[in-house]
């Protein structure tokens, strides 16, 4: 996909996310989902290698959503990639559906792992990246998306330390740095300080960018594996991005759309 196509994918993904959330008739993690739309569009529209006919294809790239509550852009990306049909997508949050508020390992649907408890995904990514290296699989790479709030978890830093130690240049972490978490402003709740310097001091190659800038994301994600270090992209994002009344408004961390707010959001996105 070229930049324009990726922009269009991001736009239709946002509309789909809102439609899915609205039709699920309950609260969803909208804010931290909307902040990752460009990241998912670029990953699934351009960067990741996958095969929907053969989901366990050994040369596929592995993707883990460590901030498991960010399923809305994930499921929508898997839908547009061809893993999840339209009908199945709308089973989201129906009783006994495979599509709930967190990823549940399901290779048919393109989900490598079960997540939901924060601070687990990067460790698993380290294990997968180590295994790929040991098996001389140089084709596959491992991508893990974390939240900035998630970086409060100590286990994240155990994994960060080990990835650098094992020189896992086939591992890419992307931090959705939207500066808000469940209870509010991240800086107030638990100040992460200079997140770029923290990862760098742990031995990672760090790239800082605007997480809604599709061209910047494409540039960085298209030129990986250049050093012997794992790479982290600190993606500065806006929680609730794309819907004016949701942007930087943490009441939309986990909330329900009414018909009025849904119509207003869709109108805004259609006009954007």
């Amino acid at each position: 996909m070229n930049t324009n196509e990726l922009l269009l994918l991001a736009k239709k993904s946002r509309i789909k996310i809102l439609d899915l959330a609205f039709k699920s008739d309950g609260p969803s993690h909208l804010g931290g989902g909307l902040s990752m739309v460009e990241i998912f569009s670029v990953l699934y529209g351009k960067i990741l290698k996958y095969n929907i006919e053969s989901p366990e294809w050994k040369d596929r790239d592995r993707f883990i959503l460590s901030k498991g509550h960010g399923v809305l852009p994930f499921f929508v990306a898997l839908h547009y990639a061809g893993f999840i049909s339209e009908d199945e997508l709308y089973t989201y949050k129906k009783n006994e559906s495979d599509l709930i508020s967190h990823p549940v390992m399901n290779m048919r649907l393109g989900m490598e792992s079960s997540n939901g408890s924060l601070g687990h995904g990067l460790s698993m990514g380290v294990g997968i990246a180590l295994s790929l290296k040991k098996k001389s699989n140089l084709n596959s790479r491992v991508f893990v998306v974390l939240g900035d709030g998630e970086c409060n978890e100590g286990s994240v830093w155990e994994a960060v330390m080990s990835a650098a130690h094992f020189k896992l240049n086939n591992l890419v972490a992307i931090v959705d740095f939207n500066k808000l978490q469940s209870d509010g402003n991240s800086e107030t709740i638990m100040d992460l300080g200079n997140l770029e310097k923290k990862w760098e001091s742990f031995g990672w190659e760090v790239c800082s960018l605007n997480g809604h800038d599709i061209e910047a994301l494409v540039d960085v994600l298209s030129s990986l594996n250049l050093t012997d270090r794992p790479k982290v992209i600190i993606a500065h994002t806006v929680k609730g991005k794309g819907v004016s009344f949701m942007e930087n408004n943490n009441t939309w961390h986990h909330n329900r759309l009414t018909l009025t707010t849904f119509d207003q959001a869709i109108e805004e996105l259609n006009n954007s």
Partner: protein, 322 residues
């Protein structure tokens, strides 16, 4: 995997932890898929020779048990049979949620090996004891919990675990000089209890280090004209219900014996099952009290809490009013 009494006596001298390392070394000769992880306790897990022989198959993850289980999950997801060891509380409690998510929820092929469980850490104290680990691990869906009775059974468990493509918690009690239960080869199967002694008056069900002590107790009981059966319930979960049915049908008092808290371990598992069977005999749980225990030499602690053979015999006799 066949064993001999001679080998078992040698392993006994090495102790349970070194035997685990020895078993892994032997397993690596026939299984190319294993990966062995340690959270900076490789030498304490008896893995020094394995590390030298198979450096590509050993990963020291540093003092980071949560990360160890997560990394184990990634390796298992890619097809490895992963053995990850640390002291019992560091796996079963510190990394409990990683165990639940990666081993339980995702049903990945990881064997968490708890070295130094029970009281065997002696003077290292309650921070290092494994008194609640079976209870915690038993409550996690998909988890199998095995507590080998002697060093031969540790070897058999490691070999069986490698062929069993699901998560398992292997709980090592005993220390250097772990008493020998098996002088000859026997059939070991995960989930299938082993009848060690037959007897018509009382039924002893034991696990781990307490199997040997139960055999000692049964001999003393015999001198007192009490015939005790001894069942080695090496697999605490899933518990062997058909073996339990035979014990229940015998209709004689049941005694469970374990180097674990009486809350949540083997005794609880047996009592949970018998509680649904009408007219089941009483279940007397012998184990460690629901408290933080005192510290001392391993043997001293077993004696302090009534877990050596003659004390077990006395407890049973007292219970029978003999």
């Amino acid at each position: 995997m066949k064993i001999t009494g001679k080998e078992n006596r040698q392993w006994s001298r090495l102790g349970s932890r070194a035997t685990y390392g020895q078993a892994i070394l032997m397993l690596a000769e026939i299984n190319n898929d294993i990966m062995v992880l340690s959270a900076d306790l490789g030498n304490s897990s008896g893995l020094d020779r394995f590390k030298s022989a198979y450096p590509d198959k050993f990963i020291n993850i540093g003092i980071a048990e949560q990360n160890m289980i997560g990394v184990a999950a990634g390796l298992a997801k890619e097809g490895s049979v992963v053995f990850a060891s640390s002291f019992a509380p560091f796996i079963s409690m510190r990394a409990a949620e990683q165990v639940r998510m990666n081993m339980g929820y995702m049903d990945l092929n990881i064997k968490a090996v708890a070295i130094g469980s029970g009281l065997s850490m002696a003077f290292l104290g309650n921070s290092h004891f494994g008194l609640e680990d079976a209870a915690i691990m038993r409550s996690i869906p998909n988890m199998t919990v095995v507590c080998p009775a002697d060093c031969a059974e540790i070897v058999k468990t490691v070999f069986a675990a490698a062929e069993y493509p699901h998560p398992m918690y292997i709980r090592l009690t005993g220390a250097v000089g772990f008493p020998v239960v098996y002088e000859d080869d026997y059939d070991f199967e995960i989930g299938k209890a082993v009848q060690i002694l037959s007897g018509s008056d009382v039924s002893i069900i034991a696990t781990g280090s307490m199997v040997y002590e139960s055999i000692v107790a049964a001999k003393i009981l015999k001198e007192n004209n009490i015939e005790a059966s001894v069942l080695n319930m090496h697999t605490i979960k899933p518990i062997d219900e058909s073996a339990l049915n035979l014990v229940i049908n015998k209709g004689k008092p049941i005694f469970t014996i374990e180097e674990h808290s009486i809350t949540g371990g083997l005794g609880s598992a047996v009592a949970e099952y018998t509680s649904s069977i009408p007219n089941s005999p009483t279940v007397n749980r012998i184990g460690l009290p629901d408290e933080f225990v005192v510290t001392g030499e391993y043997r001293y602690l077993l004696e302090k809490y009534g877990l050596v053979g003659d004390q077990i015999a006395s407890t049973i006799l007292k219970s029978l009013n003999k």
